[in-house]
């Protein structure tokens, strides 16, 4: 293959968002007639790279060449017109328009007031569907189609514009095994026609079944490109995660007490099923797995945001009913959500108002807010958690991410929770504040609270947790004691392919 002219030649591609470099000097050649997998942990840069190829993002540095000719892609539309199509996991379409219209929209031939050739359009759409061998009524609105069918429409769209590069970003995640097989058959046929396909997936089994070559990303850099046969699963996992453990993360000794929170056979169809575990007082239990494995959904179910359909939750040994978050708070649970901008802070309110929001009864006995009490509580929290700010009256939105996160933690600590659920508490905060956070989590456990820590950062889980639970595709796949935990063990449980091999 390397003797051919690459369809895409990427040289020194880098991308910064704000001050953060998410992609660093990536060189990669993609050849006609290959299916090329991009692998990496969440945030490793593979999706960013794919989006640069598809014109969604523009590189901060570096050049792209298409069949030897340098190109700049100003928009996805421009990329599409050059024969590059990105197929999103959740297809971006126009739900109210018919399948046929979705196929041709944006092809841009003819004037804006030119006549829409309905009959021809429908014929062409049927032809493309037949080509793919799928049976979809092209006159129906997109809205009613299954995700698998919507993906097929997207693929048909790539064919309609005669795309030479088709990028599939985790296309199989929402599909049933049978639908995956159909997708693969089509992908292979497209490859044999000489098209190039980029396939992004977390499922090694699928990568092995489908792909010719694989490129592994880590921390924004390309680590390895090789034919798939040249790498074992263990090699791939090692290349994906191989970053050194940070020594300063250190779990303090805490006395582990009685079970504070237990869940039994918790299920919510479509999100997770049959989840059982317990967390004891003084214990830090990690919940690992890939993004989309259902970890956050379990936390949200426990806290009553989107309750489970079946199963039990027990707090300190007593079965409880948590239908909404206020029930959870009354039982002594606290939940620091993942996306603080959406679910955590009241952006335009002051720091003190944000901190005191969890304890209305304390600051406003009889319904009237006593500012002095509010102030004292907030001041105490700011000192204890070392929150850096200009003034308690400052809108919380002006603080840095890490300090916002601390303020939210402070809010929940005011409720004196017995069980604290932290969802990706250190995402997007800088390394110094992270270290403080780890200390704080340790202190909280030492003071006898039970902590459930959801995190995608393996080193964080390994350093802090007494036990690590791992979820994959909505199921609990491992419960690993601290002594046995390593990056390989956790990743193996998180990546579906390896899990099945281990079970066999």
């Amino acid at each position: 293959m390397p003797d051919a002219v690459p369809l895409i030649a990427a040289r020194g591609i880098s991308k910064q968002f704000a001050a953060i470099e998410v992609l660093r000097d990536v060189d990669l050649d993609l050849f006609p007639g290959e299916i090329h997998a991009l692998l990496g942990e969440n945030g490793a840069g593979k999706s960013t790279f794919a989006k640069i190829l598809a014109g969604v993002h523009r590189p901060s540095r570096g050049t792209l060449a298409l069949a030897g000719e340098p190109i700049e892609l100003a928009s996805p539309h421009a990329a599409q017109r050059r024969g590059i199509t990105l197929i999103h996991q959740e297809p971006i379409s126009f739900p109210d328009l018919s399948v046929a219209e979705n196929l041709v929209l944006g092809r841009g031939d003819g004037s804006l007031l030119g006549r829409v050739p309905w009959a021809e359009m429908t014929r062409e759409a049927r032809r493309l569907m037949d080509l793919l061998g799928v049976r979809i009524d092209v006159t129906l609105p997109m809205r009613g189609l299954s995700i698998a069918d919507q993906q097929m429409v997207e693929i048909a769209r790539a064919l309609a514009s005669d795309s030479r590069l088709i990028i599939m970003d985790e296309p199989t995640a929402p599909l049933t095994p049978k639908e995956v097989e159909t997708l693969f058959t089509i992908a292979r046929r497209l490859r044999d026609e000489g098209r190039t396909i980029i396939f992004i997936s977390h499922r090694l089994e699928e990568v092995r079944a489908l792909c010719d070559r694989v490129t592994i990303f880590r921390d924004g850099a390309r680590i390895e490109t090789a034919p798939i046969e040249a790498l074992s699963d263990a090699d791939i996992i090692r290349l994906m995660i191989g970053r050194p453990l940070k020594e300063y993360m250190h779990k303090e000794k805490a006395t582990i007490g009685a079970v504070a929170l237990a869940v039994e056979n918790l299920s919510l169809p479509g999100y997770f099923s049959d989840i059982s575990f317990e967390v004891r007082a003084g214990e830090i239990v990690g919940l690992g797995g890939l993004v989309g494995a259902g970890r956050t959904d379990v936390a949200r179910a426990i806290f009553g945001i989107a309750p489970a359909e079946s199963g039990r939750v027990l707090v300190e040994g007593r079965p409880v009913t948590i239908a909404e978050p206020s029930d959870a708070i009354a039982l002594g649970l606290a939940f620091v959500p993942e996306d603080r901008a959406v679910a955590g802070i009241f952006r335009s309110l002051s720091v003190e108002q944000n901190i005191s929001a969890a304890v209305p009864a304390k600051i406003a006995p009889g319904g009237v807010i006593r500012r002095s009490v509010e102030r004292a509580l907030a001041m105490d929290a700011v000192k204890r958690l070392r929150i850096r700010l200009a003034s308690l009256r400052q809108p919380i939105g002006e603080l840095s991410g890490g300090n916002q996160q601390k303020a939210i933690l402070a809010r929940w600590l005011l409720t004196d929770p017995k069980v604290l659920i932290l969802d990706e508490p250190t995402r997007g905060i800088d390394i110094g504040v992270k270290a403080e956070f780890y200390d704080m989590i340790g202190e909280l456990a030492a003071s006898g609270r039970a902590i459930l820590l959801i995190s995608s950062e393996l080193p964080e889980l390994l350093a802090l947790c007494d036990r690590i639970l791992v979820m994959a595709e909505g199921r609990l796949t491992a419960d690993i004691p601290r002594a046995e935990a390593s990056q390989e063990v956790v990743m193996s449980a998180a990546v579906p392919r390896v899990r099945e091999a281990a079970a066999a």
């Binding site: 928009s75 996805p76 539309h77 971006i92 126009f94 739900p95 804006l112 006549r115 309905w118």
Partner: protein, 328 residues
């Protein structure tokens, strides 16, 4: 049963059934309602609303709303009327050009505020609803354009007929309906309006000029309100700074929504909107016949909207359920 449901599931059919049921109900109480003459009354009541509804429909399809149309109508009609008053020698059909042009300009201003300054359309047009009305008072010195100033040829358009005794004004409104249908169904630009309202995030990714399309729908809405303005002068023979066009936006938006255009954009047909306007017209025509005082009309209009939406939602839920069963 399934076929009945799937027909009822189509919005246009549902609203047509509502029109028929309403006509029968009124006809039982007052048999004279079911005559050709009432059809004439209904048709004469609706041309302005029909024209306004076509423009409003485009705006709502693109996931915006235009509340200012009543004042656009009033201002366009007022300036045109003043031209007739001060320059009676001018060839009267130029009034159409002036009124439509002014309306288009005011609509374009709405569009610019929405696109360039990224303000929500509901607030922008709430503002210009008052702004344009205020300007109408200022330019007119709060004086009405009286009957004698409106050219008689213009007034005649609401009475004389080219064919079948149907006045010009009704033909004009039907021509606008047809043109809108053609534009939406058969031009790429028309389909882009649906696409934009259906998924504003995806639209630019497919090369749709979002700013251009948004400016266009507001400009058309303004231009058609301007057309409704001069036809107001034709139909009623005067232009009043406070009454002309007042409440127009309510009737028009009501008709569009009753006609099945989704306030969330992307969904709706010209036929549905047409039926929505006709249903409102039937209600308006029936009220005096039933001896219901003009003072209660507004309450009845409001109730009709809510009842129509409730019926529609119930019918459509059934339709969706049966569709789901058919697929399963």
């Amino acid at each position: 049963m399934t076929t009945i449901r799937s027909i009822l599931g189509r919005r246009e059919a549902g609203i047509f059934v509502m029109i028929v049921l309403f006509a029968i109900a009124v006809g039982i109480a007052k048999p004279q309602f079911l005559t050709l003459n009432s059809l004439r009354i209904v048709l004469l009541l609706v041309p302005l609303i029909l024209i306004g509804a076509m423009g409003q429909m485009l705006v709502i399809l693109a996931r915006h709303v235009d509340l200012s149309i009543g004042s656009v109508l009033g201002f366009s009609a007022m300036v045109t009327g003043m031209m007739f008053r001060y320059h009676p020698e001018i060839w009267w059909p130029l009034g159409f050009l002036l009124s439509v042009g002014i309306g288009a300009g005011l609509g374009l201003l709405n569009g610019v505020l929405v696109t360039v300054f990224r303000l929500p359309a509901i607030i922008v047009t709430l503002g210009t609803l008052n702004l344009y009305r205020g300007l109408t008072y200022i330019v007119s010195d709060a004086r009405q354009i009286d009957r004698q100033y409106v050219p008689s040829a213009l007034k005649a358009m609401s009475q004389t007929s080219p064919i079948f005794g149907i006045p010009w004004i009704i033909f004009i409104s039907f021509a606008v309906v047809f043109a809108t249908w053609w534009f939406l169904m058969h031009t790429r630009l028309g389909r882009q309006i649906y696409a934009l309202g259906s998924n504003p995030v995806a639209a630019p990714l497919r090369g749709i000029d979002v700013t251009g399309v948004t400016l266009l729908v507001f400009t058309i809405s303004g231009a058609l309100s301007g057309l409704a303005g001069i036809l107001y002068a034709s139909r009623w023979g005067f232009v009043n700074p406070s009454n002309t066009g007042a409440g127009f936006e309510f009737q028009v938006i009501a008709a569009v929504v009753i006609g099945g255009v989704s306030i969330n954009g992307g969904v709706g047909t010209v036929l549905g909107t047409f039926f929505g306007v006709i249903l409102l017209g039937c209600v308006a025509a029936a009220l005096p016949l039933l001896g219901i005082a003009g003072t209660t009309q507004n309450a009845i209009y409001g109730a009709v909207i809510i009842v129509a939406l409730l019926i529609d939602r119930t019918v459509r839920r059934q339709g969706v359920k049966s569709l789901a069963r058919a697929r399963a």
